[in-house]
């Protein structure tokens, strides 16, 4: 079966927000925002803006009929700044004009004066000054204090990981228009239509039923449109309401990068204790999360950091402290992995450093500590169907890791200016929203009288292939030609109270809901079929490839006729079903529970080549054995793995979010923020599906896939580091990502003092 969405994509026929035909009288918005990181607004004069040709209005906090509040988890974020601004990029007003150029010109004409206040950008500094978003969280297992005594080696260190810009190819955008009876319709590129609906209702001061949010698809989300698509959608709703005109707001790329949050940068301290055998006995870690100005999803992301503190390892004594720090940057937000990658990078760094001290290969320590069946995570859950060891061993043997290492050693011995390095990266990732109540979804299925089927769910398609998976599920459930199925837009009037499409859970939750809704209709259809065929037992009816079978025998009845018969018999051809993940819970007071439906496992081998003269490198290959369960759609799952890996490599290497001393983003364009291109991506990516691993907790025995492969990219850091150490065996190891060519070169040549002095 071909991916129906992909067919539209390659023809350029898929519609993104800016492609949808717009209603008459459309106006355009442009966001006017703070140019300082922290301060009081002393003056806001937009009279000159209103004089500009085409400018219709300037919308500010004063125009808000409801609450100026868009915070999700914590109510600490306004739509428009009123008295104070908290980061460069803090929205102050929306200029509305006949076209985009005029709106931009209007924004330039606004006069705004600030009185600067001290600003904080560093999370540790914020913590010292008491600027935390929520009180620190602690996860623990065993007793670290006692355990240190048992250790032969204790190693401490500091680890830094940088932010990451989502760089979804489609920028943030929305358009909204008033509907009758004081209503509003919003077409938004959001992963979270209900958040847009709820927040718009709050800001406009109207009930949620008057707000209809429709999402066709996103040109990439990666978490960046989970919470942070909301503001722009609400702005268009607000302006549309006030002016009684349709309004479109598409953030220009530079504003998109400047105004929205990124993956949280983290600064962390670790202490790890091991036996000489390589067994990790004790691990203590403190994560300082750079939250930005408002809470956004930071507390939940921090929590996931804590959940993934020990990555794929069993450690009997753990104490992990997470601190979400408030700084004067745009609120950092969800990004593929949701805090997990930051935790795993620290864990792997600790192992790496320990291995160096012990004089062993990090994989020696990794292997000694991999999770086994029944092992307990620091949050109390025990592993079930654990495949950590299997994936690790399978990737090692499939690719003959010892031969890889040998040939790298030979290469490094014969080459002076080029060195190679290899690293293994195991991953264990928990599946479910760790906020338990979000683990619910519903589906609405209609069968029309012509036999075609429409499916509406809470899932938002953003490239992860959830539409095609649901499509596949529905066609399989009814056993009909997939061409009969259409996955409809995600719409709050059709499917209400949706959870965001996030946490890799879209296909699981909505897949189950779709199965259930189809099941309801099927049950009715079987009864109709039995009636039609004048048979007794509806349970003996089966549909196979659109043909109705009774008791295993083919009948005359076909899908199309059956549907028609049901309709004439006045049997409902629509059904709605709700699904909630069973048996999960988490006690936030104790930080214990069973938060995850299941875990995903896998291991990657990453190889890199370093140019020791220039400090540049290539990531040559990534070879993976991954537990996909029984894949619903292998080419989609493989693509998720490949794409996640390259994004993860980007985070570890070339993607560097940089600010100046005033908190202004320096890397606010594709020309300065570099994501992997076709040549930077590894030449050789091999994804192997672990065989014969049905997942009892996923639809049709499948497993979630969106996030876990991202973390294989962490291996790139250590592969490059190994190559560097082969060139400079005595080099000091700095555990700081991204490992840009700049960091590489400065580390390799740190002992050339005269050069560094000259230009100070």
């Amino acid at each position: 079966m071909k991916n129906f969405d992909a067919i539209k994509h390659v023809r350029g026929e898929s519609q993104f927000v800016d492609d949808i035909l717009v209603p008459q009288g459309l106006l355009y918005g442009y966001v006017f925002y703070s140019t300082i990181a922290h301060g009081k607004i002393k003056k806001l004069d937009y009279s000159n803006a209103l004089k500009i040709d085409g400018v219709i209005d300037v919308i500010t906090a004063k125009d808000i009929p409801g609450e100026n509040q868009i915070g999700g988890i914590i109510q600490d974020e306004n739509l428009f700044a009123e008295e104070t601004v908290h980061f460069v990029g803090h929205p102050i007003a929306l200029v509305v004009a006949e076209n985009q150029l005029q709106a931009h010109a209007g924004a330039r004409a606004i006069e705004c004066g600030f009185e600067k206040l001290p600003a904080i950008f560093d999370p540790r500094e914020a913590f010292e000054k008491g600027e935390v978003i929520v009180p620190p969280r602690i996860f623990s297992l065993g007793d670290v204090n006692k355990a240190w005594k048992e250790c032969d080696y204790i190693v401490e260190g500091k680890v830094e990981s940088g932010g990451q810009e989502h760089l979804y190819l489609e920028v943030q955008g929305s358009f909204a228009y008033p509907t009758e009876g004081n209503g509003i319709k919003i077409i938004s590129a959001t992963q979270n239509p209900t958040a847009v609906q709820r927040t718009s209702a709050r800001v406009l001061g109207i009930p949620m039923h008057k707000v209809e949010v429709d999402v066709v698809r996103l040109g990439g989300g990666f978490g960046g449109k989970e919470d942070q698509a909301t503001a722009w959608a609400v702005m268009t709703a607000l302006a549309a309401k006030k002016l009684n005109r349709p309004i479109k707001l598409i953030l220009p790329r530079q504003e998109d990068i400047r105004l929205t949050g990124k993956r949280h940068s983290y600064s962390s301290d670790f202490k790890i204790g091991l036996k000489s055998s390589g067994k990790i006995i004790s691990y203590e870690v403190t994560f300082y999360q750079n939250g930005g100005a408002a809470a956004d999803l930071s507390p939940a992301i921090l929590e996931r950091t804590l959940f993934h503190t020990t990555n794929s390892y069993y450690i009997p004594n753990v104490r992990a402290t997470g601190i979400s720090c408030r700084t004067n940057l745009p609120s950092n937000t969800a990004f593929r992995g949701f805090g997990g990658p930051q935790a795993m990078f620290v864990m792997e760094s600790a192992i790496y450093k320990a291995a160096q001290v012990m004089g062993v290969d990090p994989s020696f320590i990794q292997k000694k500590n991999l999770l086994k069946e029944g092992d307990e995570f620091p949050y109390g859950q025990k592993t079930k169907n654990c495949r950590a060891v299997r994936c690790y061993e399978e990737v090692e043997s499939r690719y003959r890791i010892s031969e890889i290492k040998k040939s790298i050693d030979e290469f490094n011995q014969t080459n002076r200016l080029y060195k190679k390095g290899v690293a293994l990266m195991p991953v264990c990732f928990g599946i479910s929203f760790t906020t338990t109540f979000l683990n619910q979804a519903s589906a609405l299925v209609h069968v029309y009288t012509d036999g075609s089927v429409s499916i509406s769910t809470a899932a938002v398609e953003m490239g992860q292939g959830v539409n095609m998976k649901l499509h596949h599920i529905a066609a399989k459930m009814f056993s009909i030609d997939p061409k009969r199925v259409k996955i409809d837009t995600t719409n709050t009037s059709r499917v209400a109270n949706t959870s965001p499409t996030a946490a890799s859970k879209g296909a699981d939750l909505n897949g189950y809901a779709t199965i259930d809704a189809c099941e309801i209709i099927l049950k009715r259809l079987k009864k109709v079929a039995a009636d039609e065929l004048k048979k007794e037992d509806p349970s003996k009816i089966e549909i196979k490839n659109e043909i109705i079978f009774y008791d295993g025998n083919k009948t005359e009845l076909i899908w199309q006729k059956l549907i028609n018969a049901a309709y004439l018999k006045r049997v409902s051809l629509s059904a709605q079903a709700h699904h909630a993940t069973p048996n999960i819970y988490f006690d936030r007071e104790k930080s214990k529970g069973e938060p995850f439906a299941y875990h995903v496992y896998g291991t990657a081998i990453v190889e890199a080549t370093l140019d020791c003269l220039r400090g540049t490198y290539t990531i040559d290959s990534v070879k993976v054995v991954h537990d996909f369960g029984e894949s619903l759609f292998p080419i989609i799952d493989k693509g998720q793995a490949e794409g996640g890996i390259v994004q993860g490599i980007g985070w570890m290497t070339c993607e560097e979010v940089m600010h100046d001393k005033e908190g202004k983003l320096l890397t606010d364009a594709l020309s300065t923020y570099k994501v992997p291109d076709i040549h930077f991506a590894p030449k050789d990516i091999q994804i192997n599906f672990l065989e014969d691993v049905p997942n009892p907790y996923g639809p049709f025995k499948s497993k979630a896939i969106g996030e876990p492969p991202f973390m294989y990219g962490i291996g790139a850091f250590f592969a490059i580091m190994n190559a560097m150490r082969s060139f400079r065996p005595k080099m000091e190891i700095e555990l700081k990502a991204p490992l840009t060519p700049e960091r590489v070169l400065l580390s390799l040549y740190s002992e050339i003092p005269e050069l560094t002095l000259q230009n100070k």
């Binding site: 991916n3 992909a6 067919i7 539209k8 390659v10 023809r11 350029g12 898929s14 519609q15 993104f16 800016d18 150029l101 760089l167 979804y168 190819l169 698809r217 040109g219 990439g220 989300g221 790329r253 002076r416 200016l417 953003m462 490239g463 020791c612 220039r614 540049t616 080419i635 493989k638 693509g639 490949e642 794409g643 390259v646 070339c654 560097e656 320096l666 890397t667 364009a669 594709l670 020309s671 300065t672 570099k674 992997p676 291109d677 076709i678 040549h679 930077f680 991506a681 990516i685 840009t740 060519p741 700049e742 070169l745 400065l746 040549y749 050339i752 050069l755 560094t756 230009n759 100070k760």
Partner: protein
């Protein structure tokens, strides 16, 4: 009024010539398959193909429609994704679907256009080049693996075929059959083209646009209402020739034309490879040598190369002509020894002498489609092992594209040795004044320039050097 063919449709328009082709396509023609991802030539979501008549044949090249002024498509054929679509998927499209080459789909039309463009612009097909044809397209979803598989798969349809023609592509459904009529239609259209364009100086109050790859990044909004002077089609400003023992390159010659010039390939066998580090294919198809020089960016790659070739600029304002060494052209940050109405008609440099060597080095955060953190070029002549002539440039380390005069002085009349090279690198780093920015700290740029100076010698004279002593 300009006339051109957009896909299969002849267009005559009075729209402002300074609007981008992207806006014309999306907003005026409502063809939304061409996407806007960045408006600065860095994502490729807006990639289109431009076909122009050369000797009565249509030659296509890819371009970023976000940086291309509408005025520059007069008399040409513009192809968007909609102009490639047929009833069934083309082999390129089908391969992308089957191999998982698309996820969210936003980047995808750009990839389809680039890859289809590859088949249309190359007679001999190979998978490595096919993959490289997408070097200007960013995909954030797929990790490119499926895209590469699709490229390999679609090239395999031409296995064994030595030359492929438009007819072949139409037969194999890579292209719709209206493509076969385009040459005839363009011949007719070009009769209407404005023939008064010339390279004789810049008329008063007009803004000169060459490839537009700098101008449109810097100020696309304000160019809409300007009176633009387009030179990209002015023949007298184009081309590469040899005159009086000098190689002369017309001011409006593109980087792609330089890459593919047989003359330059003969004298600088590595140049084609070096220029792969310049932007992307669609950028190189538009970016010109004159624009690179006049833009005066300290990291300009062509400028960097030309400085080391000790090039001369040929300026004209229609009334008079003058020549000036490139190294004397830059007076300060973006200030030039150039009058308002002067155009760079050409750049020339001496044909490399026997026993001469040339090398170009560029390091950036991402190797391809990135601006240099530091770049450097070196031209050097040896006689009996002694350096008898040398020019070295350094980019990204000063407010202007830098000619390293003191390093040259030091190297002249010396033998190549570890010590000399090491000292030369040292001297080079004392000639510079880098600043810290998104491309690197001053400390890094200083170190990097040292490394690149070493790299010149290590690459050109490995046998004369003990690497162990240097690094």
């Amino acid at each position: 009024m300009i006339n051109f063919i957009l896909n299969n449709k002849t267009i005559s328009t009075d729209s402002p010539l300074g609007i981008t082709l992207l806006d014309f396509i999306r907003k005026e023609e409502h063809l939304t398959g061409t996407k806007e991802g960045c408006r600065e030539g860095d994502c490729g979501a807006c990639t289109i193909l431009i076909g122009d008549l050369i000797d009565n044949k249509v030659k296509y090249k890819s371009a970023n429609s976000c940086l291309m002024p509408l005025g520059d498509v007069d008399g040409k054929h513009v192809v968007t994704i909609e102009g490639i679509n047929q009833d069934e998927l083309t082999p390129v499209q089908e391969a992308l679907v089957d191999e998982g080459g698309t996820q969210c789909g936003f980047c995808t039309p750009g990839f389809v256009v680039s890859l289809t463009g590859y088949f249309l612009t190359h007679e001999a097909i190979n998978p490595i080049e096919a993959i490289d044809s997408m070097n200007g397209n960013i995909c954030r979803c797929t990790g490119y693996a499926g895209i590469k598989r699709a490229a390999i798969k679609s090239t395999s349809l031409f296995n064994g075929l030595k030359r492929i023609s438009t007819e072949d592509l139409v037969n194999k459904k890579f292209l719709p059959d209206y493509f076969l009529e385009i040459p005839k239609r363009l011949i007719e259209l070009q009769k209407l083209r404005d023939k008064s364009k010339s390279g004789n100086g810049l008329p008063d109050k007009r803004v000169l646009v060459s490839g537009g790859t700098d101008l449109y990044v810097q100020k696309w909004e304000s160019l809409i209402d300007e009176d633009l002077f387009f030179i990209s089609d002015v023949n007298e400003l184009k081309g590469i020739s040899i005159e009086d023992n000098r190689i002369k390159i017309g001011g409006a010659t593109t980087v792609s034309e330089i890459e593919n010039s047989p003359i330059l390939q003969q004298y600088f066998p590595n140049l084609k490879n070096d220029l792969r580090l310049f932007g992307s294919i669609p950028i190189r198809n538009r970016a010109t040598i004159g624009g690179n020089i006049v833009n005066a960016s300290p990291i300009g790659d062509l400028t960097n190369i030309l400085l080391a070739l000790n090039s001369t600029l040929h300026l004209t304002n229609g009334k008079s002509k003058r020549e000036i060494f490139l190294k004397d052209f830059y007076k300060g940050y973006k200030t030039l020894d150039k009058l308002e109405d002067e155009i760079i008609a050409a750049v020339s440099f001496r044909i490399p002498r026997e026993n001469s060597f040339f090398n170009f080095e560029k390091v950036s955060k991402r190797t391809y489609l990135d601006i240099a953190s530091v770049n450097s070029s070196m031209y050097l002549e040896l006689s009996d092992g002694i350096i008898v002539e040398v020019h070295i440039s350094a980019g990204g380390v000063a407010p202007i594209p830098l000619y390293l005069a003191r390093t040259r002085e030091f190297l002249l009349n010396k033998n190549i040795s570890d010590e000399v090279i090491s000292d030369a690198a040292e001297i080079a780093t004392s000639e510079i004044s880098p600043i810290s920015d998104a491309r690197g700290s001053a400390e890094y740029k200083t170190l990097l320039l040292r490394q690149l100076i070493l790299a010149h010698f290590i690459k050109l004279f490995p046998e004369l050097i003990d690497i162990g002593e240097l690094v």
